[in-house]
Amino acid sequence: MFWIAILGLFLFSAAAFGLARRKASDAARAAGRRPNSLPGQQAGYVALWAFTPALILLACLIVFSGRIETGLIEANLPGAAAALEADQKALFVGDVHAIAEGRPTSAATWSGPLATARAAAVDKARDYELLTGWGGVILAGLVAVAGFLLALRRLSPDFTARRHAEGWIHGLLITCSALAVLTTVGIIASLLFESVRFFQVVSPVDFLTGLHWSPQTALREDQAGSAGAFGAVPLFVGTLLIMTIAMVVAAPIGLYAAIYLSEYAGPRLRAWVKPVLEILAGIPTVVFGVFAALTVGPAFAAFFKWIGGNLVGGPLDGVGQYLVQVQPNMALAAGVVMGVMLIPFISSLSDDILNAVPQSLRDGSYAMGATKSETVKKVVLPAALPGVAGAFILAVSRAIGETMIVLLALGSGGGTNLTFNPLDAVSTVTVQIVSLLTGDLEFDRPTTMAAFGLGLTLFVVTLTLNIIALRIVQAYREQYD
């Protein structure tokens, strides 16, 4: 309905534009002199007044109608439902809202007086929906007409319509820029809000230093010491392990590829290799994840089993016995595939940085009789070192935040043991966030809040890394520009 209203608003504004334009040119002709603003500009001013306030109203309604309806349902619950516990009540309200809108409900069943209460509440909810829907659209229509009429009355040949319209446009531009800031505020607020509640249950020290992670046990409320299950160190270690493997793969390959492309390759090779690397960079991470789960993981497991099979019975029998039972969902497979994903990222960043090193440095080195590789190793790379370091830090930050590759390669159930062994199954911060937050969830559980605690940690770490990297890169750029 809102979408049709927006379409109608477009049509109305177009009509308003036409009408105002005719009025403005008539007025100009009657006055017999050039107006302050062109008729088109005056009409644009009127159209903006007709369009913008109503659009803002409709946009707010689209965003907030769900919230308003929920509030109304909650405030007017029938007696039986109003007496429910807080989280049960939230579930009930959610179900009522879902039924009223024809969406699937939660798994909870309501029986007895609650079933009748639900039916009554659904009837009311439908009314609220009509109210927010039609009420909103009618209100928006009134606002549009009022804006149009008010603006139309101000039109005169002396009216500075262009300046006024430009003021509107300016405001619009600033609002759009503010959206980016608003996103950051939203991210920080949502992470902080839930995390603070989590850290009231589990102390941050336990969370950051605890060696045991098994959030599921906390579901059983009778179990003692559930707080001990939220030690995130195994996840940090798993994340670091996979990140390290990925960087071991990606850093040399990416850097050498960048050096070759910027120092050795002719334009024809560049024209071929750059698009290939761009394709590699554009492949969705879920594809890399499937690749890791279905191809790389089993291949690695088969390889280690083969080695292990040859060792069993020999002097290294213990190692052989271990290798034979290696599973495909090992950290190594996830790390290697993530490394492949990072290659184009590192190489394109490093390529830019190497290209920014002034040619005069190279020429000086050649003049002293250095070979090309000596120039690269002794002159270009040291000069580019801060930039390359920045690129590596950005890659590390990406590896830490990457989700789909590890999720598919390790499986969401993966081991949460504390291990540094790349052949074992580990779990990462992102994998745990996904497995804690998918499925039918209620918001007030410690498991859900734990996910936000992990998210906050992830956000803080990646943000710090990004800021460091951007600082380094910027400081370095200023040196040569």
Partner: protein, 435 residues
């Protein structure tokens, strides 16, 4: 430097030795040079090799899913089994399986095991089709219909040679007798192989042979539409402000730093934002394209802003100054003279950002798009899934027949991404002006 530090003047033999040593050193340095070069080439070869392995693996895995085997059987709607008053109550699958056994001249055993094994070869779609036909026209009871449907997922794998007799009987889903039956059905000409149109005309299903991508494709399209409608105007206008109008002050600086950092926030964090703010607080519908679209719009907003800014930067200042010189206001100069030549660059940036959004998965898992939906989404608020999430769901499915469909879904997703990237490249080639 004192004389004492100078080496004694070399003798003739010493000179020759020094020359030989220098020659050796030079050789070593040239060898190091060649090695270094080889490392560089090797790194590039490795990167291209990885890409080749990845693509070859996906194609090899996914291509078979574009072909499928269809069985067409005459089905006698047995009045003894189908009640005209209650057509829903009959077990059509079993009825069809028993008729299949008769056709193959196989006795059904006392427990009906053979019929169940025959049923395993067929898809439940056959039964649904008969039920639909009977519901529409009850006079069909007692007559014979010809029903064509995809053959069961495992049977399909057998025909494609992916589940052959070389696998030990205990390790495969179909036993030897079932494979014999399949061979006979093929020999009788009841089974035909053709293009798997169902893949593009149906949504997801619990049965691999019935599962299609249409729901995910429509879901992706709806979601991208929302993303484009929100992110493109907002991103472009924000970039115009920051590049052309914003005063150089602390606030602007803060916004710029903010945008640069937002571009590097892990995508999963945006999913948590969507979950906490849009779903939990603003009560947006779960699993719906509008929610996913808005979350992804916030995700690609920094990318669009950065791309637009560099497109605006590429327009030479002389154009802006020319417009200002003939009396245009700053707003007119920007909107009439700077934006039009920057449009191809902006469009390229927007398309690439949308391609990125198309492949994004993790934040959508957070907002419930991983739910199993067998219907094609009807609108922006109905439950839907999208292509990358569909890949994730199928990858996690137990049946092997889903694995080839995972590959097919990847190929479809990559095809869409190639089209979008090509569009961006063509736009850039066709309209880009170098000043």
């Amino acid at each position: 430097m004192t004389d004492a530090a100078l080496p004694p003047p070399p003798s003739a033999a010493g000179r020759a030795a020094a020359r030989a040593a220098a020659g050796k050193r030079l050789k070593r340095r040239h060898a190091a040079e060649a090695r270094f070069r080889a490392y560089g080439l090797g790194a590039i070869a490795l990167a291209i090799g990885f890409l080749a392995i990845l693509l070859a693996g996906v194609i090899q895995q996914g291509l078979p899913a574009f072909r499928t085997n269809t069985i067409s059987l005459p089905v006698y709607v047995d009045p003894a089994k189908v009640d005209a008053r209650d057509p829903q109550g009959a077990n059509y699958d079993l009825m069809i399986a028993e008729q299949l056994l008769n056709r193959l001249h196989v006795e059904n055993d006392d427990l009906g095991e053979n019929a169940l094994r025959a049923k395993d070869l067929l898809s439940p779609d056959m039964g649904f089709q008969v039920l639909d036909a009977v519901k529409r026209d009850p006079s069909l009871i007692g007559r014979t219909l010809t029903i064509a449907a995809p053959i069961g997922g495992n049977a399909d794998l057998y025909y494609k040679g992916e589940l052959g007799r070389e696998i030990a009987e205990a390790d495969r889903k179909l036993d030897d007798a079932q494979l014999d039956w399949l061979d006979r059905l093929k020999a009788d000409g009841l089974v035909t192989e053709g293009f798997n149109t169902r893949l593009f005309t149906h949504a997801d299903s619990t049965q691999p042979e019935l599962a299609g991508l249409l729901g995910a494709i429509v879901g992706s399209a709806l979601m991208l539409l929302v993303t484009a409608l929100v992110a493109a105007p907002a991103g472009v206008l924000a970039a115009v402000y920051l590049e052309e109008f914003a005063p150089r002050n602390r606030l602007t600086n803060f916004i710029e730093v903010n945008i640069n950092n937002l571009a590097a926030v892990p995508s999963i964090v945006y999913g948590m934002l969507g979950l906490a703010v849009f779903i939990n607080w603003l009560q947006f519908p779960r699993s719906a394209p509008i929610t996913g679209g808005v979350v992804l719009a916030l995700l690609v907003l920094p990318t669009i802003i950065i791309a637009t800014r560099s497109a605006l930067k590429a327009v030479p200042p002389s154009i802006r100054e020319g417009a200002l010189a003939v009396g245009a206001s700053p707003t007119q100069a920007v909107f009439h003279h700077v934006l039009p030549p920057a449009t191809p660059g902006i469009m390229t940036g927007v398309i690439l950002a949308l391609a990125h959004a198309l492949g994004e998965t993790a934040p959508l898992l957070m907002i419930g798009m991983v739910s199993f939906t067998t219907s094609v989404p009807e609108g922006f608020t109905s439950a839907a899934t999208v292509l990358p999430v569909q890949i994730f769901i199928w990858e996690n499915a137990a049946e092997r027949a889903f694995h080839e469909r995972t590959g097919a879904a990847i190929l479809v997703l990559l095809a869409f991404m190639v089209v979008m990237n090509l569009a961006a490249i063509l736009l850039r080639r066709r309209f880009e002006r170098r000043w």
